[in-house]
Symmetry: C2
Subunit: 244 residues, 2 copies
């Protein structure tokens, strides 16, 4: 598959193929929603059997890096409001139904990264970040307040865009406008007491228990691209976690 590798690679062929195809997606050779060459073509190009390409693509599909559609082809996975909500928004109502929140912008401005942001986003000291404060409503009632911080270097004009109104789901915007694909995220959940400001936005008493969700979202190369701190009312909603 590679006539003159600089460093001989003794890993199984299908893993080499998988990582090569993955690299091409990350590099932008094929962009989100684009179709990859067929299994047969890739096999011929790389000099391996179709079964080996298939095994590589199957693993990438399991990892949601590509989507396979019988009769049509294999496509680079793209975020959409639906997939974003499904994967990254875990609040459900009493009946266990996933609720779609509305967003209300509170504030959006640039600033120098604080210690927590520098640490979470692995920035150089003094780097600039954009901060977005939002309130999110479920069924018209305030449910969540959140602070989102992203490196300004990755999203140079996100704050200008704000004038036109930010979309409810940001990850498809990150992907389509800035070429930043969120591949995975880590969330840490804690219970905290509402600050005076939280209480004001959510319509509760200061000191009321809130579910705090701290999220670090990473791109396909595992670099941090977003730090997010959400505080949620959990009288009508709960965070759903499936252990399988």
């Amino acid at each position: 598959m590679d006539p003159m590798p600089q460093v001989p690679d003794y890993r199984p062929l299908y893993q080499q193929v998988r990582d090569l195809l993955r690299r091409r997606i990350v590099d932008g050779t094929w962009r989100p929603d684009e179709v990859l060459p067929s299994e047969g073509r890739l096999a011929a190009e790389l000099g391996v059997s179709q079964g080996t390409v298939r095994k590589a693509l199957d693993e990438m599909a399991a990892q949601k890096l590509v989507v396979r559609r019988q009769g049509r082809g294999t496509f680079v996975a793209a975020h959409s409001p639906d997939t974003t909500l499904f994967h990254f928004f875990h609040m459900v109502d009493r009946a266990g139904e996933r609720q779609v929140p509305e967003s209300e912008l509170l504030d959006c401005r640039r600033g120098i990264a604080g210690p927590a942001e520098t640490e979470a986003l692995q920035l150089m000291p003094g780097a600039m970040v954009l901060r977005i404060d939002r309130r999110r409503m479920i069924g018209g009632a305030p449910a969540i307040v959140e602070r989102i911080a992203v490196p300004q270097a990755l999203f140079p004009d996100l704050d200008v865009l704000e004038e036109d109104g930010l979309p409810n789901t940001l990850y498809d915007l990150y992907q389509k406008r800035y070429g930043v694909t969120v591949g995975r995220a880590t969330e840490r959940l804690r219970a905290v007491a509402a600050t005076a400001e939280d209480a004001d936005h959510l319509g509760v008493e200061p000191g009321a228990p809130l579910l705090e969700i701290e999220r670090i979202a990473r791109d396909l190369d595992d670099g941090p691209v977003e730090w997010r701190l959400s505080r949620c009312l959990t009288d009508r909603l709960a965070y759903l976690s499936e252990l399988t």
Copy 2:
């Protein structure tokens, strides 16, 4: 693979094989930690190719129903304290390290299922449950109080066993002593205010914010086998959720 199926099955062969093997594990034909027949033997027995059996077993391995060990064979997955903690205990410290909690039994008694238990465990009205109240310590300090409720029908003498001290991880006990394998669980997280009793056990003020985790654990047939309500101090710990 089946010469006279009562109802013709048009699903792919490997899915039929997968479900048949799965059925045998659930039925106890092969018990936890036992080795299955080799791929070749299964293929011959079922009249399919080895590749088809392989695809079925690979899916079961991805689902953690079996464990494959090169050179040795394919084994029915079994719980151990380690796998249980890794899969079902998500509290981590500030550094992101998973912490192993100690357990201190507070109470253990039988009772008639209340409405919440009847609902969660899908019991008949008036059915008996066993309730276990525990306090869990991290590094010697109280961190969690929890109530566990299980149908008495499934674990007839669990409360008698308590005299010898319950193990720290219950799921391997459920499996080895009662033949009940927990295959998956659903958790709902909320923020609540500590009751006077919570506060007493955890050494905080009443009203302090606690992370409440409500878990329903299910067996391999998806029937509920345990209902658990944990309340956690999150000053030193956080609930870790990986979104991939």
